[in-house]
């Protein structure tokens, strides 16, 4: 299973999303790869900016398992625990293009991760956070989200 260890630098996120796309490319269609990249980038941003509070040099372990009908992306870090409510938080209200000042400028990370993934699992293992994102790559698997 391909794996990558990085440290918590925002500048590293782009290279990781490229790596994730390269690993997935032989088995996954391009549209789904886009979703994987978006979810991966948002998850990494959350780890670096929130779990580690922008502290650089902290460990992040990433692994990706490309199976026949799904891709499993696992991200592990030793930062702050993710608040339970955060995982279910929705994007703020309905967008009103006519009300510019009310347009949101933050908070889209976790909703984006959920929108791109078929299954999101979080657990705290000792002092590690472990976020598992499942991307189904076959129509039958996508309908069940398994």
């Amino acid at each position: 299973m391909p794996a990558l260890d990085i440290t918590s630098e925002i500048a590293a996120v782009g290279a990781v999303t490229d790596w994730v796309a390269d690993v997935s490319r032989r088995h996954v269609d391009q549209a789904r790869i886009h979703d994987i990249q978006i979810a991966c980038a948002e998850a990494l941003n959350n780890i670096i900016l929130h779990a580690y509070r922008r502290r650089t040099g902290m460990p992040i372990a990433i692994s990706i398992n490309v199976l026949a009908d799904r891709v499993a992306l696992v991200l592990r870090d030793r930062g702050r625990e993710l608040p339970a409510a955060a995982l279910t938080r929705e994007v703020d209200g309905d967008l009103d293009p006519g009300n510019l000042m009310m347009l949101p400028e933050s908070g889209a990370g976790l909703p984006l991760i959920r929108a791109c993934s078929d299954n999101v699992r979080y657990r705290r293992v000792g002092r590690w956070n472990e976020l598992t994102l499942i991307f189904c790559t076959r129509a039958s698997a996508r309908s069940t989200g398994q």
């Binding site: 990249q37 978006i38 948002e42 994007v91 967008l95 949101p104 400028e105 933050s106 889209a108």
Partner: protein, 111 residues
């Protein structure tokens, strides 16, 4: 981060980085808002060289849109597929005026 060209009252803003993300969104925001504060009221943002935008990049675009306000206008063109996907996921494709190319974006802004 950006290169600019103003012609006939329309300012073309070309993002010169391959990604607009948490690493550089603050620079894009600062440079673009400086343009608006300096008098640019009609902006066309060229994302043709941008292969990835994350939520921080989108937030920076929203900030620029807010600064342009209702008295100005802003159009975007050159969205690559993964960038367009981000706009669709966040429903920002309903907020921003998106065009397929520079000519159509410029025409819409100049009208």
């Amino acid at each position: 981060m950006i290169s600019t060209e103003t012609r006939d009252g329309v300012t073309m803003v070309r993002v010169t980085e391959a990604r607009l993300n948490a690493a550089n969104a603050i620079h894009f925001r600062r440079e673009s808002i400086a343009l608006v504060d300096g008098g640019a009221t009609r902006l066309v943002i060229d994302l043709g060289q941008v292969s990835f935008v994350d939520s921080s990049g989108l937030a920076a675009l929203v900030a620029v849109l807010k600064r342009v306000g209702i008295t100005g206008s802003l159009a975007i063109f050159g969205l690559q597929p993964v960038v367009r996907r981000m706009f669709e996921l966040t429903r920002m494709d309903r907020v921003f005026h998106l065009y397929p190319d520079a000519a159509s974006a410029r025409s819409a802004i100049a009208a």
